[in-house]
Symmetry: none
Subunit: 264 residues, 2 copies
Amino acid sequence: MNDLSSIAEADKIESKIKSKSPIQLSKGGTNLTDFNRTTTRRVLVVEDDASLAGFLSAELQDHGFAVDIIRDGETALNKLMEKSAYDLLILELNLPKLDGISLIKHIRPTFPRLPVLVVTARNRTEDKVAALVSGADDCLTKPISLAELLARVRALLRRNGGLIPISSTVGDLTFHREDRRVERNGRRIELTPREFALLDVMIQNAGHPVSRSALFERVWNTASEPSTNIVDVYMKYVRDKVDHPGEPRLLHTVRGFGYELGPK
Amino acid sequence: MNDLSSIAEADKIESKIKSKSPIQLSKGGTNLTDFNRTTTRRVLVVEDDASLAGFLSAELQDHGFAVDIIRDGETALNKLMEKSAYDLLILELNLPKLDGISLIKHIRPTFPRLPVLVVTARNRTEDKVAALVSGADDCLTKPISLAELLARVRALLRRNGGLIPISSTVGDLTFHREDRRVERNGRRIELTPREFALLDVMIQNAGHPVSRSALFERVWNTASEPSTNIVDVYMKYVRDKVDHPGEPRLLHTVRGFGYELGPK
DNA sequence: CAAATTTGTGAAAAGATTGCCAGAATTTCC
DNA sequence: GGAAATTCTGGCAATCTTTTCACAAATTTG
């Protein structure tokens, strides 16, 4: 498993592969957005068409995911129930033994946060709606575009944190989750718990703007909007510790939206 | 026609539209702060039964949607063609002048992605099938359950996974709705909230001209006509960032009407 | 071609958002 | 309990965004 192969490199491969997309997508996406990931995301593909399953599996593995394939709904349900080790479920709707929608309904109570990406045939939009109504998180229509698939898989994994890497690196900033150690350029950065949580969310979304409300929800663990400028204040605290004068800035403002972490 | 069009803002529109004006039920109030969070979704209800139309409209509005009601198919078609200003179409099949299925067939070529939710009477499964075949995205059977209606409307409008794609590509321009990222040719494009909303509407209507008033309605979230050249000014801002000198132009002027996004 | 209409451009005023600070409230730790 | 660290609030200043308006440029019309 070529786990550590940087995703940016994998994206170059992507552009070589002829896209099976109906729409011509831009060349490769030029994704500088996923920085070094140090843990593997585990994906369960439940798909009864062998060739599509093979395609999905190969592409996802090329992009650094660990993939298991199961061909029918019943086996998938058993596997999920006995082993809750997946970060994402990719699901065909027409499945032998237990259809996709029933499968979602069965697993949702047990795994309320597991991201489920549904794959449907074209012209079956009522299925699509039914899937979303019954608890799928996202939906793709055949024929599947590789770029779109990867974009959505990443978006889903990013949304609720997915599987959290033990350590991450953005530019010259390293972030060690388990022992709460943060360094930039060898210099140790001491963060308070909230500051750490804020930088954690930024790290998990490195290269992507994060909205102020998303930050508030995840760092302050609440469902409402911030009623004060608390997010901004903490962003300043973290900035003061991370971005020293003379160093290139890592924490950028996205005006009217939120903040973004990344070299620029 | 006992229109409820007692809303002041409707005045200007009435004078401009030649045929019978639809009931204007959009709630006014351009709130700059909330347009960033959640753009108000605009729903067109085409329903000939006044009481059902009223019910739908009231409930949808209570849940934060802007709703217009039209009572016959022909007027609906005109309104849609004149302004591509809706995010969702809710459609009765039995309509005066132009039935629902014909309406769908007429608008699909122009609005390939507009979500259409059809409402049918019970015991008319052949209608249901016909509607789905001819391009409807989902189907509800009377009597309508409110929870079901809202669930399906939301499913259809879901930014990621519904019918509106998480990211779109036009030529070498890629647009990531979810995380507010826009790139052309690998070059990152930073947009202010309004610029982003404007480009979003253009992207959703790529390949088709969008009228100036439709842009104003959707980007500025209002029911009236622009009283200044604000749309043109913002189009220039977006152009300056998207169409750099030397690159093929993507944002074109459609004289006397509005603008169109697309390679050409 | 000139007049009329429509669209593009620059600049400045008005409006909003974000940065920053000082101090108050809360929690943690001894 | 008290000191220290952390978290939070509110306000003002700096910065950026939005809007308006006057005029220039482009296009259509007569």
